[in-house]
Amino acid sequence: MLQLIRKELLHILRDRGLMIFIIYAFTFDIYLAARGFNLIPEMVSISVYDEDKSFKSRELVEHINPPAFKKPVFIDNYKDIDKLLNESKTVISLAIPYGFEKDLYKLDASLQVLVDGTQSSTAYLSSAYLNIIIQKYTLDFLKERLKASNITGLNFIEARSRILFNPNADDKLFEGINEFFMIITLIGMILPAAILIREKEYGTIEQIMISPLNIKKLLLMKITASTIFLLFLIAFSYEIILSFWLGFNLKGTLLEFLAISLIYSFATSGLAFIIASIAKRLSQIGLLTMVIFAPMILLSGGWVPPESLPFWLRKMTIISPLKHYMDSGISLLIRGASPEQLAYNMIKLLVIGIIFMITGYLLYNKRVIKG
């Protein structure tokens, strides 16, 4: 038995192409995703067309500061706003009309904000940032004005927002962990599929059929070997890349995370059986995996909030193993949830895994062993 696991592990280790990919995926790829992706706009490029050139207009512009915005680019022609936005040189423009200061003292002023709507991730948040700056400026001005005319009693409701679990809303932490889940899923499917298909491709499966070895036992050993290897990779990446190199402060213990990953590996191995039944050659695994992987990402909740999906897709997230894994993983690693809170999700994940496993095995049995 142990001999068989050792044989499969050696097979994996000696496949140079696969190993390079696996090592890259679990190290640099996660690092790059954490460092490179930042959906939260910072240093947004902004242009200002100040027609009024008054004290008040300059005072307002002085409130536009890093880190939310870059230093504003001043332009002196309304047409240039269009030009800059057309060429995507700036994301947002503020136009201050002539007579702004005068109107402001009359408490009846207006401003124009133009946003490049093609920059979807940034457009809304940049205009929200700018709006909040303007609103704050307005309220301060109003207070000052009322004080001057001896009116008191203007009160406001202040928002005290607290972002829990990740107080600075550091996107690196999320993007790194999100990519970590993607890689676990991808390798969790490719690795067992590659092991399962190799015998088929080399024709050694015929040898095994006539050997006294029980084929079910062999398959079990193959899956065990790839799962052991996967868990080792997860532990390595968790400790070395996420905790050490990226310096993430992860909640939950490694052991807890390995436990939920083990449950998740039932589902990915089941899918690997399905892939290995359909693919004819090792080189076809890559593209087939992508076909299965893409819908899993959509339904995972990592990219698009599940609440914002159309109704029927939202219902389908129930059968997506990555969704349950991701929910539990984020709860464990970022939110620091207790194991009891995750139990319900884990049971769902286990049931899905067993169903995938049985389907995959039956398919493999029909198409590869008997076929």
Binding site: L32, F37, D108, T118, F156, A159, L164, L287, R335
Partner: protein, 379 residues
Amino acid sequence: MIFLKETLNRISAVAIKEIKEIVRVRLFLMLAFIVPFIMFNVFSFGISLDNENMPFAYIDYDKSQLSAKLVEKFKNRYFDLKHELTDLKNAEMLLSSGKLRAVMIIPSDFSKSIYRGNNAQVQFLIDGGYPFRAITIRGYCESILSAFNTEMAIKKYKGKLLTTTPLRVETRYLYNESLKSSYALVPSMIAVILLMNPAVLTALAISREKEMGTIYNIYSTPIKKWEFLTGKIIPYLIISAINFILLVITVRLLFHIPMKGNFIDLVPGAIVYVLINVSIGLLVSSVTRTMVAAQIVTVIVTVIPAFLYSGLLVPVANLEGGAKIIARLYPTMHFMKIIHGVYLKKLNMVDLLPHLLFMILYFAILFTLGVTVFKKREG
């Protein structure tokens, strides 16, 4: 003239052989058309960055008319106002298990402070599990609150000092008036799909000959290197052209996204862009030996720049230093600008000419490099 004819003969021979090979491996043929189609749809549905229906709850310790009015403001398409909670512990539990995205806490002295002439405070607890969503939700909450403040102020001083909002901000989202992220993202996905698919397929085409040993046939024929490579890429150009048209139709019919500009203005960019990506595939397969390695390297060199440095998720205008230079050096950004220009900004070919010229230059360099690196002998 005879030389030209022979050259054309040799190129078409390779192209026809390649087409036959593609058509005869049915799985490969399927993957060539179905994979990009599925990927496109999944990413296009999946990449929506609109945050709506966020599960939201509140704790109202005040239970006044004013607090009820404030809660009422959160009944909109951004929030899915779940229910009133009674204690903080329960709220934190629901946040940490991901059942709620945000909770508003109205303190017991909320309305009293306002009537007494002090500022009142409202607390928002927001789930930081997904930072982009957290920041967006904070933006929603603070905008709703500041609108509520202004409304209160106007009511209080109506007729005395204020008649309307003291400073109105008129915000216009150009090119995408309703600010649907899909309007910008879905057409952009054409650039992502047309990057990966032709590159991977071409990389496979050459490494397949290497792996199976049929490349030796080529080594021993009089065909020139560039003729062989040109013949090799023609079928993939045809496949990509069909895919391109299919994707444009999908954008229109399935996602209902109108094209403000003209389709014709998009075509030259698409052709050059596909030529570039096919050349990337050629270059990769010239240096790798097996099909698996060729696939892996191609995915690595294409996917990351497509997502990171193309302006798909982070606007190129916001990038700094090195990242800005990298973005300009990769072709995806240029094609994405052409797509945005035609789809949303109603620009024409002349406006977009600099991007097209850059891409043509890029292709010329890449193809020459591919021909130079490709060896027509062993070793």
